[in-house]
C-alpha cells in the first residue's frame, strides 16, 4: 500500500525525524526560573530577560510554557533549542494521545524530555546549546503538585520543595533553605505567601546576576498548576506584591 497508510504508532520522533542536537545554536539565552510547591499545587515564575553574551536581547521573553493542561516547562539556557524542544514535546504528547487513544503517562512524558536532553549532550558538553529545564505538573492520580529538574545529561530529579535553574539560580539556592527553615516549608504556604517569597528570590537573583531581569521594567511571569489545571496569576496581584518585594525605592531617591 501507500506510504500514507503506514502509521508510525505514536512515535513522533520517527514521524518527524526530529533531533535536538541537529539544531543550530542561537546566541540568545534565557536566565532565571523558579518553581516551588505550595498548598494547592505548584507555583512557577520566571524573569522576562533573554541575553546574548553581554547584551540584553529581549525583555519580554516567556520562559514558562505549557506542555499540556497540567504540565509546565520552565526553560533556561539556549533559547533557540529550548523553544524547539517545547514545540516538539507539545506536539509529541498530543500526537501520542490522538493516535493511541490514551494520554501519555507522566513517567512517559518525563522520559521523553530526558531522552531529548541526553540526545543533546554532545553539543552541551562543547558548551553550546545547553538546555536545563524544570518540569512542573499536577499529578491528578496522587492529587499533588510535583517538581522535576534535569541535568545537562538528561538525568531527572524530583524535588520535595523547590527547584531553580538558569544563571541567577546558584546565587539564591541557599535562600530557599533559609526560608524553609525559618518560615516553614513552601508546600504549606498559601499561594500569595509563596508568591511573595518567590518574587523576592527572583529580585535577589536579579540583583546578584547580571543576566537576570528584575521586575522594575516588566512584571515576571507567574503561573500555578492545581487540580483545576494551569492558571496565570493576575497582573494586579503580581504588581501589588512586586511593589513590596522590590528593594524599597531606588537608592538615589533615598539620598
Amino acid at each position: 500500500m501507500t506510504d500514507l497508510l503506514q502509521p508510525h504508532s505514536g512515535n513522533f520522533a520517527a514521524l518527524t525525524g526530529f533531533q535536538l542536537n541537529g539544531l543550530a545554536e542561537g546566541p540568545i539565552h534565557g536566565t532565571t526560573v523558579i518553581a516551588v510547591k505550595y498548598k494547592d499545587g505548584v507555583l512557577t515564575v520566571g524573569d522576562r530577560r533573554a541575553t546574548g553574551g553581554m547584551a540584553i536581547m529581549y525583555d519580554k521573553a516567556e520562559k514558562v510554557l505549557s506542555l499540556d493542561d497540567y504540565t509546565l516547562i520552565s526553560i533556561s539556557g539556549s533559547f533557540s533549542k529550548a523553544i524547539e524542544l517545547v514545540r516538539y514535546l507539545r506536539m509529541a504528547f498530543k500526537y501520542y494521545e490522538r493516535s493511541q487513544l490514551q494520554p501519555m503517562s507522566l513517567d512517559g512524558k518525563l522520559n521523553e524530555l530526558g531522552k531529548l536532553i541526553a540526545g543533546n549532550m554532545m553539543a552541551a558538553m562543547q558548551g553550546i546549546g545547553l538546555v536545563i529545564p524544570i518540569l512542573t505538573t499536577f499529578d491528578t492520580k496522587k492529587n499533588e503538585g510535583r517538581v522535576f529538574f534535569y541535568d545537562g545529561g538528561g538525568a531527572r530529579f524530583e524535588t520535595a520543595e523547590y527547584a531553580a535553574a538558569g544563571s541567577g539560580s546558584t546565587q539564591i539556592r541557599g535562600a530557599f533553605e533559609y526560608i524553609g527553615r525559618t518560615k516553614g516549608p513552601f508546600r504549606e504556604m498559601d499561594r500569595d505567601t509563596a508568591l511573595r517569597e518567590v518574587l523576592t528570590l527572583l529580585e535577589i537573583a536579579a540583583d546578584l546576576d547580571a543576566a537576570t531581569g528584575g521586575a522594575a521594567k516588566y512584571l515576571p511571569l507567574a503561573k500555578t498548576i492545581t487540580a483545576d489545571g494551569i492558571a496565570d496569576i493576575e497582573e494586579d496581584v503580581l504588581r501589588s506584591i512586586v511593589k513590596t518585594t522590590l528593594a524599597a525605592e531606588p537608592a538615589m531617591v533615598q539620598g
Binding site: L4, Q6, P7, L15, T16, R98
Partner: protein, 253 residues
C-alpha cells in the same frame, strides 16, 4: 488473457457491491455546527466511532474497524507531520482529504489485487463561525465532497440526503438542541435507506411505514447501543478543543 471493457465494468461493480453491502447497515455519523463549536454524533455498540485528528479536526466513520483505523492513523500522521514541519495553521481538511487521503484511498480501490477499504468517513474542520465550519465526506473509492454547517454519512446516499434535509433549517445556539437535532438525523439516516413506494400495494392495503426516528432510537438503545458524541469547542481555553460528551450531556428525545 485479454481484459475487456466488460470485465473492467464488472469488476468495479462487484467491488462496489462488496463494500456497499457491508456499509448499508452501519451506524451513520451526523455532523452539525452550532455557535459554541461543532458536533459529531453516532451510536455504537462498543468500538469508538468519533476521533480527534488534529487541533481543529475530527473524524467520525462507519465501516470495518481495521479500515477505519488505518485511515484514522494515516490522517493523524499526515496532519502532525505537516503541523510540526510547517505550522499548525497550515493543517486543513481540504489539504488532508483532498491531496493526502483521497488519492491514497483511490489507489487501494483501483488495485484489483486488494480488497477495497470498507469505509465512509466524515471529517470536520472547526472555523471561526458555524457558517465557516467545513465537513468533508470521504468514500471507499476515494471520492470526496464538502459541505458547510452539517453533513451525514450513512448506509446509502439516499439516507444521508434525507438526514441532511432534516438539518437544513437548523440554526443552533446551544449544545443540547444540537445533540437532539443530530439524534433525530441519525434516526432518519438509519431508517430511510431507500425511497418509499408512492402508492398503496396491489391489495389496497397500506404499506408498512418505516419506524420514526424516535422509534428507531428507542430500539437501538434497547439493543444495547449507546450514543458517542464529541465536540470541537470554539471557545475553550484548554489545550485540546476536542472533547467526548459525557452521558449526562446527551438529552433524552
Amino acid at each position: 488473457m485479454s481484459y475487456n471493457f466488460y470485465d473492467f465494468n464488472n469488476a468495479l461493480q462487484q467491488r462496489n457491491e462488496y463494500v456497499e453491502d457491508r456499509l448499508r447497515d452501519g451506524s451513520p455519523v451526523v455532523g452539525l455546527s452550532y455557535d459554541g463549536g461543532m458536533l459529531l454524533l453516532s451510536l455504537k455498540h462498543s468500538q469508538r466511532k468519533v476521533y480527534e485528528i488534529y487541533d481543529k479536526l475530527m473524524l467520525g466513520a462507519m465501516g470495518k474497524q481495521s479500515d477505519i483505523e488505518s485511515i484514522r492513523l494515516a490522517a493523524i500522521d499526515a496532519a502532525h507531520r505537516e503541523g510540526f514541519q510547517r505550522s499548525e495553521d497550515d493543517v486543513s481538511v481540504q489539504r488532508l482529504v483532498g491531496f493526502g487521503l483521497s488519492p491514497a484511498v483511490k489507489r487501494v480501490y483501483n488495485d484489483n489485487n486488494t480488497i477495497p477499504l470498507t469505509f465512509r468517513g466524515l471529517f470536520a474542520e472547526l472555523n471561526a463561525t458555524p457558517a465557516d465550519d467545513l465537513y468533508f465526506t470521504l468514500g471507499y473509492d476515494g471520492e470526496f465532497r464538502n459541505t458547510k454547517r452539517y453533513a451525514v454519512v450513512a448506509g446509502t446516499t439516499y439516507a444521508s440526503e434525507q438526514a441532511e434535509e432534516s438539518l437544513k433549517d437548523a440554526h443552533l445556539g446551544n449544545l443540547e438542541d444540537t445533540v437532539k437535532a443530530a439524534l433525530r438525523a441519525w434516526g432518519i439516516a438509519r431508517t430511510q435507506l431507500a425511497p418509499l413506494p408512492e402508492k398503496l400495494d396491489e391489495d389496497g392495503e397500506e404499506i408498512t411505514l418505516p419506524p420514526t426516528p424516535e422509534e428507531i432510537l428507542k430500539t437501538a438503545f434497547e439493543d444495547g447501543m449507546s450514543v458517542e458524541a464529541a465536540i470541537l469547542d470554539r471557545h475553550t481555553k484548554r489545550e485540546s478543543r476536542f472533547r467526548l460528551l459525557r452521558a449526562d450531556e446527551i438529552p433524552a428525545l
